[in-house]
Each structure stands twice: as structure tokens, then as C-alpha cells.
């Protein structure tokens, strides 16, 4: 063991500056990949339909980007702790149903339900940690629970969003469309919280090296609870934002968000293990998916049948590009 380590450290110190420069360039390229893919999608849209690149065009195309970005951030918190949340989609749907019914008719009860559901998320984190359970299975089970609750709250599509929520979501700031400002805000706030605060480092560390963190005296139970509670908070925000846009709800409204949120995190440069995530990347990933999913394909005259496939293809292309860059990193 020891000779290998000295060899490795020797190797590291004797690396020439040219090599180090190449390494830094590859890292930079890798970090820029999410932004590059977004730029590529935007360029394609601009080329296919120049009129879409306008205040009105962006407001329309990025309509659903806010809820997708919020759900992606929720998923990102779970992934930072090396877990996966397969229930976020139905949770967003459940929140949507509560927003369109209780939150409008009896705001106090509505708020209590939503806060309680965040508590359920925190409990799930505790359960997964204490019983050492596979999060995939637990959240897959929970996805049925949320869907069942959503159907109980709102058996038939309908309901109505509270007026204040409608007002927020239809806000029209000057010059820059609201979805872009909101996305920027979400990305920056979460970036500051998770990447720039000391507890944020601990949270990411719980995914990076849990054993080391535990030896250093941090509670892994607490980090897991915090990560899941944060996922719950952003899931609630996503569901509310979604209803603010669609104005009414349906128990199945969020089902697609599970896959979109995972894809968004990965597109944004996140890794499944090791606590390597990027909030700004995740928001960019969500925007890319929101744009690529339907506006781009509509402009390319691709039938709606193939829109799901396009999401898969984009994921594969971006991951392939990442592999090419990572090869240079070595």
C-alpha cells in the first residue's frame, strides 16, 4: 500500500505545468458543459425560429421551467446524500392538489398539510438512515402514497389556484422574462447555501465520504434529515409554482417530474455518488430540458411521439460529451 502512495504523490508533484494546464482546461470545459448544452439548444431554437428569441417567446417557452427547476433542486439535495428520490413527481402532484383545494379554501389547514408533508420527507430521511434502507425502494413506495393522497384530495381534475399565487406566477418584470429571473434566483440562493456555507459542505460531505464525516463527529442522521427536508421544501415550492401556472390541478400532474428532475441534475453536471452536485448546473439542466422537451422539437417539426425520446437522446449526448472530456482529465 505505502509504496503505491508515494509513487502516486511523486507522480502528482512531478507533473509538468503543461499537463496541469491541460487538466485545468478539461475541468473548466466539464464545468461549462451544462451551459454549453443550454447555449446549443438556444442557438438551435434561434436558427429555426428567430421570432422565439424575444421577451414574449421566452416567457412562453420557459413557462414550465420554474417548477421543473425547483423539482430538480429538490432531487439534487437527495442526490447529494447519495440517495435517489423516485417519489418527487407524485409528491409535486400531491402538493399541486393541496394547493388547488385546501390552500385556496382554508389557507391555514393548507399550510399545515404542506408543512406536515415536509415533515414526512424529513422522517423518510431519518428512516432511511436509521434502518439503512435502500432509498430507491422506500421512495418508490412513497410515490404510491403521494399519488393515493393526491387522488383522495382531488378525485377529479379541477380546483383553483389561490389568487396570490396566480399573481406571483404571472408577474411580468421589465426587460427580462420572469422565468429567467426566477431560475437565476433559485440557482444563486441554493448555490450560496449548499456550496458556500460550512454546513453546506457537511451536507455534501455526507455523500462524499460519510465515514470520514462520522469520525469527525458530525451526525449523519441529521445531515440525512436536513437533505430530505430540503427536498421536501423544494418539492412543495415546485408543486405550488406548477399550480400557479396551470391554475388548476390533477392528481397526475407531476408524474413526469421524477424523471425530469433526475435528468436535470445529471445534465447539470451532478454525479450519482460522491456528493458532487451543482445547484446552478441543475437549474441550467432543468432549463435545457424545458426548452428541448417541446419548443425545440415543435420548431424542428418533430412529432410529439418522439419528444420523450429527445429527452433521452439529449441525456446520452451530454453524457457522451462528458466522457470525452473526462478522458482528457486523466
Amino acid at each position: 500500500m505505502r509504496p503505491e502512495m508515494t509513487a502516486a504523490s511523486l507522480d502528482a508533484t512531478t507533473r509538468s505545468s503543461a499537463e496541469r494546464g491541460a487538466l485545468a482546461r478539461a475541468r473548466l470545459l466539464r464545468g461549462l458543459l451544462p451551459a454549453l448544452s443550454l447555449a446549443l439548444v438556444l442557438l438551435a431554437i434561434a436558427w429555426l425560429n428567430p421570432r422565439a428569441i424575444s421577451y414574449f417567446g421566452f416567457s412562453l417557452m420557459l413557462n414550465l421551467a420554474i417548477p421543473i427547476a425547483l423539482a430538480t433542486i429538490a432531487q439534487m439535495f437527495v442526490i447529494s446524500g447519495n440517495e435517489l428520490d423516485l417519489s418527487i413527481g407524485t409528491f409535486v402532484g400531491f402538493v399541486g392538489c393541496v394547493t388547488a383545494t385546501w390552500l385556496k379554501d382554508a389557507p391555514l389547514i393548507g399550510v399545515a398539510i404542506l408543512v406536515g408533508s415536509i415533515g414526512v420527507y424529513a422522517l423518510l430521511g431519518a428512516l432511511i438512515r436509521l434502518r439503512n434502507l435502500p432509498s430507491i425502494v422506500v421512495t418508490l413506495g412513497m410515490s404510491f402514497v403521494w399519488q393515493g393522497l393526491a387522488i383522495l384530495v382531488l378525485p377529479k381534475p379541477g380546483g383553483k389556484a389561490p389568487d396570490w399565487l396566480l399573481a406571483i406566477m404571472s408577474f411580468k418584470p421589465p426587460f427580462v422574462p420572469f422565468p429567467i429571473i426566477a431560475a437565476l434566483l433559485i440557482g444563486l440562493i441554493v448555490h450560496f447555501g449548499l456550496m458556500r456555507t460550512s454546513y453546506g459542505v457537511i451536507l455534501r460531505g455526507s455523500g462524499g465520504n460519510a465515514a470520514a464525516l462520522k469520525r469527525a463527529g458530525w451526525s449523519l442522521l441529521k445531515t440525512k434529515i436536513v437533505l430530505f427536508a430540503l427536498a421536501g421544501v423544494f418539492g412543495v415550492l415546485s408543486g405550488m409554482a406548477l399550480i400557479g401556472i396551470t391554475t388548476s390541478a390533477d392528481a397526475n400532474i407531476g408524474n413526469g417530474y421524477t424523471l425530469l428532475s433526475i435528468a436535470g441534475v445529471i445534465l447539470g453536471g451532478g454525479e450519482f455518488v460522491g456528493g458532487r452536485v451543482s445547484p446552478i448546473g441543475a437549474v441550467i439542466g432543468a432549463l435545457t430540458l424545458a426548452l428541448a422537451a417541446s419548443p425545440l422539437l415543435t420548431f424542428m417539426h418533430i412529432p410529439p411521439d418522439w419528444q420523450v425520446a429527445a429527452n433521452g437522446a439529449i441525456l446520452i449526448i451530454v453524457l457522451a460529451a462528458r466522457v470525452l472530456i473526462s478522458r482528457r482529465e486523466r
Partner: protein, 315 residues
Amino acid sequence: MILVRSLAGKPWVWSFLGALVVWLATIAFTGGYGAGGMVTAALSLAVFTVIVGVGQMFVITLGPGNVDLSLPANIGLASAVAMKVMAGSDSMIVVGLLAALACGAAIGAVNYLLIWALRIPPIIATLSASFIIQSIDISYGRGLQIKPPPGFADFTNWQILGIPVLAVLTVLFTIGAAIALQRMIYGRSVLAIGQNIRAAWLAGVNVGRIRFLTYTLSGALGGIDGALLAGYFRGANVDIGNEYLLASIAVVVIGGTSVAGGKANVPGVWGAALFLVLLLTMLNTFGVSAGVRLLLTGLIIVGVITAAGGEKAVR
């Protein structure tokens, strides 16, 4: 007593026990009415979960992060392919089954190709693949009412003395799978990779080949399952495989297979599949609404997983 103790030590006993409890609860509710018919129905439905469950079990046994999320899309596409190839004619049944098998195996092979070439986690590889498969299925099977040939529909629904023939064949298949897992080089290699991929590689296991075979096997089983489902429900459609994402993973875990890999259990897949199917039957018998049924199904799955507990981390 010794028998009881050695049985209690087997993880798969609990899933059969759960199935038995649910069955007893239901016939207590109906006053004994339809007890036999319930078993027959449960056996015929459990077959489809068992077939994909075994494929998923081999994949999950490969170690942490290995899971096949493309099964629902795979089942959907294979069901359409099988029905189109059979084209309602009894003489084409075998060809249609082979086509479904080939379609599923190809999907499995592509899954592994993505994992290997892009070095991405299997979850995201099979997820991306499933997006694409879904679109192919929608555009391939659209606007067509694809019915199975009468002979195939009869075969998949065939019962002798209340025992579905398909269930008997599936029991034989699972015995084969258990032998492959415990007694053959392939199965031992899968277990070895799941326990420690590096140690397995150092011991001379061809890790790449075994993983390729395992994903292809899972895909092929998904394909054959799609064809059988289309026969049993007398028609193929895009959503036919949707419920098998949760079901395939749940039966593996409830059946006593370790999610951390390296430890698999074939009988447990049967027990867990019967448990899930009987659970749904019970909730239907109680006449609960769709919302309550989903809610209880989810809660019971989470409850069972919690009770069974995860593995203590070995590292």
C-alpha cells in the same frame, strides 16, 4: 422445532407468510367465498411479476447502483412487436415469441453498451434508454388495435384443475434460475461481482462479459414478459408494462435479495409477487377507492421494507 428455526432463518419465508396472511384476511372478509379462485387469479398474475422480477434480481445482485429502469418501456415495446409479428395467426406464435425475446435482449444489450461506453451509472443509462424505447413504442404501435392470435390468448389463460399452466412453467423457469444462480459459473460470478467487483476481477471473473449477459438476460425476460402479458390481457398497449417498474424492484427486495448486491434469493421473488398480487386483490375485495388502494399499497411496501431492514454496511 429445528425445522421452524431453520425456516425462520430463510429470508424468503416472510414473503410467503405475508402472502398467506393477506389471503386469510381476504377470505375471512368474504366468509370463505372465492378462496380457491383467488389463488388461481393470484398465480396467473404473479407470473408476470416473477418473470421480470428474476431478471431484475440478477441485475440488482450485480451490486449497488445496478438496476434496470427500462423494463416497463421494454415490456411495452416487446408486447407490440410480438403481436405485430404474430399478426393474429396461430402459426406465427413461436416466431412472435422469438421476436419479443430478441427485441428485449437487444434492449438489454444496448443498456449495457450505454453503461460501458459512456461509463454512466446503470440507473441513468436504463432511464435514458427507456425514454427512447417509449417513443419507438408510441410511434410503432400507434393507431393499431393489436390482438393476439386466439391460440396464444388461450395458451396464456390455460388452466388445468384451477392451476394456470403458465404458472407451472414459470415455477420450472425459476427453479432453473435458482440453479443457475447457486450452482453455475454464471450465477456464482454474478454473486461474486456483487460482493466485491474488484476481488471478482482479480479472481479472474470476466466482469464485463457477466454484466453484459446479465443486462441482456433482464432485457430478454422483459421481452418475453411483454409478449405473455399481451396474450393474457388479449392485446398490446404502450402502458402495459408501467406497473412493473415498482413491482419488479419491490419483489426483489421484499423477497430477501440484498439491494447492496451479492446476495440473491429466487424463492422470495415468488413469495413477494404473490404477496403483492394478493394485497391488491384484498384491497379490491374490501372495496376501497383507488386513492386509498394506492395509499395502502405504498404504506405496506414501505412498512415491509422497514421491518425487513437493510443490510448493515460491511465497509
